[in-house]
Symmetry: C2
Subunit: 243 residues, 2 copies
DNA sequence: CTAACATTTTTCCAACTGGTCAAAATTTCC
DNA sequence: GGAAATTTTGACCAGTTGGAAAAATGTTAG
């Protein structure tokens, strides 16, 4: 439930800088002493706010979302919300960094010692499950990407790149061993990301095109079946394909 | 250069409703007479504005973009811009409908009488070229989708669906003839959309992950090679694949 | 009960937003 | 050249936005 951090961007110091009087608690006059025990109530409210913010940000993007909308969604007044998160950006930052963490977990679990096809298949499954179960997170991420990832540029240039480099190497090894069709490992990963996240990010379009009849969860089962077939066949090594 | 319209959403009546005094020209007092000859200069300025708006909207989405930003980008004052497009929404509407038109052209050209693999391969190529040459259009579209396509819901539910239904039928025919591996045609189309548009919509991520060394246009050539391989192998019909 | 702290609400504000309007500058057409 | 039409600008506005201040209302430990 608490996977390793890709990048711990929310240490606390930043967010507590001028926290409500709560930090003077327990101690009396230490300069920037014991930052915050963080009440259970506080944690709860913060979660409610983050949940509401996810809803709003994922739909309208950072600029398009307003604190008022988030507050309403969270069932509280704007100033009350600002009591917990003094800055709009803070809320967004928290969401993004929490997101990146879980978002890349499936890729991290990519196991070199496993069977290539089993690994790829289960990676696709997991990504697809995430698109189904956490579409808002996916859209939040997509929104950030569309805008040029101003707030997470470093994260993707350093941490994400390192992770993908590592996994690309694994894929290459498998290819060298003839256990996987030779193909650009980076683009292979991109294509898995793209095809799976598509079902979250372009959900409206998918639903519209599939029509009313095919909109239950079945949609994702069909997608899984199709994608498995595509990637399994597409990456099965073969001496050559008769033209 | 002027493909058939998917949906002519900008007839004129709406946009001329209270146009600058220009419409009183030529005639003198016809009720809603001759709507608009539309000067060459007007057309030019409008194009400049639309170009600037594309830049801004594709980056920030509808709500996130401001008229001031667009005006600055277009090198004119806000009131001046509003002289040409009295409403922010008008600009956006124009962009979207122009976009849909060209965006779906490749799919429309999908030819039943052609060879399945040739058709699919060239469809992928074209979509990839569009991602390369018109990334902003792609992002504008993606932005709209992420937000639930409030402004084009009907368009995708009717026109787009009809087009995809038609092409799905073509794919099914090919599959029945054993010329194409049996697979869900809708998800097949989705996967092509997803993988190709990914290179426009997630451009930052792609660049970051590929690293500085691989950022020239070569990126797209690699992608094209990879995707062709994936889809060609993935969809080649075979009696069965040994597990 | 009450002092100390935590939370919430009310009020307010300055900056920004989409948009108006009339005057000024420019272009067009005779 | 000059009247009429078009285009551009500057001043302005009402509504919204992110956020600050402080008063009001809990809550809790002694």
């Amino acid at each position: 439930m608490a996977p390793r951090k890709l990048n711990a961007a929310d240490p606390a110091p930043a967010s507590v800088k001028r926290q409500h009087k709560a930090d003077a608690r327990a101690a009396s006059s230490h300069p920037p002493a014991r930052p915050r025990p963080l009440t259970r109530i506080q944690k709860e409210k913060q979660d409610i706010i983050l949940e509401a913010a996810l809803e709003v940000f994922s739909l309208h993007g950072f600029r398009g979302a307003t604190i008022d909308q988030i507050a309403t969604q969270a069932g509280m007044s704007k100033p009350n919300l600002l009591y917990y998160f003094p800055k709009k950006e803070e809320i967004h930052r928290r969401l993004i960094s929490a997101l990146l963490d879980t978002w890349l977990a499936p890729l991290r679990d990519f196991d070199e010692s496993g069977d290539p096809f089993t690994e790829i298949r289960s990676y696709i499954r997991r990504k697809l499950e995430m698109a189904r179960d956490f579409p808002r997170e996916s859209r939040l991420f997509a929104n950030e990407m569309l805008q040029g990832a101003p707030r997470i540029a470093e994260m993707i240039e350093v941490d994400l790149k390192a992770l993908v480099d590592e996994k690309a190497k694994v894929l290459l090894t498998w290819m060298d061993q003839g256990r996987l069709s030779r193909a650009d490992p980076y683009h292979l990963i991109f294509s898995i990301w793209a095809t799976t996240q598509h079902y979250a990010d372009f959900d409206v379009q998918v639903r519209a095109v599939l029509g009313k009849g095919r909109n239950g969860e079945g949609r994702f089962e069909d997608a899984a079946r199709y994608l498995e077939q595509l990637f399994m066949h597409g990456l099965t090594p073969k001496p050559r394909v008769g033209v």
